[in-house]
């Protein structure tokens, strides 16, 4: 299980962006995880919660957006979510496809408990 080391990296990044005194007000950590990234969202949440327990970040929760696997056809510019493992463009029949999304593991944004107009 590599979700523990990923959770550690994630916390390191959060700490880079949020000063120590503001960490208790962190409420929501928005992540994007591709369905082919080999990351289990439940395991990552479990590890994250365990690591932030009784730390200034303990009120922070992960919200995970799952990004589907999509392909892009370089022949006709069509992007699509393949059904199963099809490897032909449904629009033009070309097999010149490159994978577009599905491998993400990204920290999108951090939400703090404060008025949305406050400048960060």
């Amino acid at each position: 299980m590599h979700e523990m080391s990923i959770a550690q990296e994630l916390i390191r990044q959060i700490e880079e962006h949020v000063s120590a005194e503001r960490r208790p007000s962190v409420r929501n950590i928005a992540l994007r995880i591709g369905t082919l990234s080999s990351i289990l969202p439940e395991s990552l949440t479990f590890c994250f919660d365990a690591l932030v327990n009784q730390t200034p970040l303990q009120s922070a929760k992960l919200s995970i957006e799952l990004v589907p696997y999509t392909l892009h056809c370089t022949a006709c510019n069509h992007s699509f979510e393949p059904e199963g493992w099809a490897h032909v463009c449904p629009k033009c029949g070309s097999s010149q496809l490159i994978s577009q999304t599905g491998q993400e593991l990204e920290l999108a944004y951090i939400e703090l408990e404060e008025s949305p107009s406050e400048v960060v």
């Binding site: 990923i6 990296e9 082919l36």
Partner: protein
């Protein structure tokens, strides 16, 4: 709200990019072998080294959770080898490989083979700076392996189907295994081999040799 928009593993990716540049400038071709435990990666490395070690200088970085037994097997073949013991971690990270490469006595090499920890999930998230990932599956593991671990098969460039000498004794069907893998990643190059009988080793080694730079 603080907009971040960063890859969580960007630190690992940055080290991997630096390694890739180093190896590219030194004309070192680097492969990262990944598989489940027991698929025969170390035996494959041994058989490959025996066939190729007199044709070019090479070295091995061995990843293992606890022991250095695999490194001893490579060392016995008189090839430079550095062991990484991950102490429980289920994958290699670029920083560990960077440290290991620094420990390598002989850097004037053309081929660097990294044997990752036996695991088809975790290593797929970590770029090690390799030129390509090579996934090894033995016929005893069942022909649905690619469907269970698509994340790894989509990232690999080569599939080695190992232990084909055992085909008469197992239920898995090699055509199904190959078909499943190619359905996920049509650009996979597939080799079918047996380290025991040597069957299929020639085309695999010839191809590997052809990848060497300059």
């Amino acid at each position: 709200m603080i907009t971040v928009e960063r890859k969580v593993l960007e630190k690992n990716d940055a080290i991997a990019s630096r390694l890739r540049q180093t190896w590219s400038s030194q004309k070192i071709f680097t492969v990262n072998f990944v598989s489940s435990p027991g698929s025969g990666k170390t035996s494959l490395l041994e058989a490959t080294i025996r066939r190729l070690k007199n044709t070019m200088p090479m070295a091995v970085i061995e990843g293992d959770v606890q022991t250095d037994l695999d490194a001893q097997r490579i060392h016995a073949l008189d090839v430079p080898v550095v062991q990484i013991v991950t102490n429980g971690a289920c994958h290699l990270e670029a920083q560990l490989v960077d440290d290991a490469f620094k420990r390598l006595d002989e850097k004037n090499i053309r081929l660097l083979m990294i044997e990752n920890v036996g695991n088809l999930v975790c290593p797929s998230s970590y770029d090690l700076g390799e030129d390509m990932k090579i996934v090894v599956v033995s016929v005893t593991e069942g022909d649905d392996k690619p469907l269970k671990y698509p994340g790894m098969f989509i990232k690999a460039s080569v599939l080695i189907i190992n232990k084909i000498d055992l085909l008469p004794y197992v239920h898995s069907d090699i055509a199904t295994l190959r078909g499943n893998a190619l359905s996920i990643n049509p650009s996979l190059r597939v080799f079918e081999i047996s380290c025991t009988t040597g069957e299929g080793m020639d085309p695999w080694c010839a191809w590997l040799h052809s990848q060497i730079k300059g």
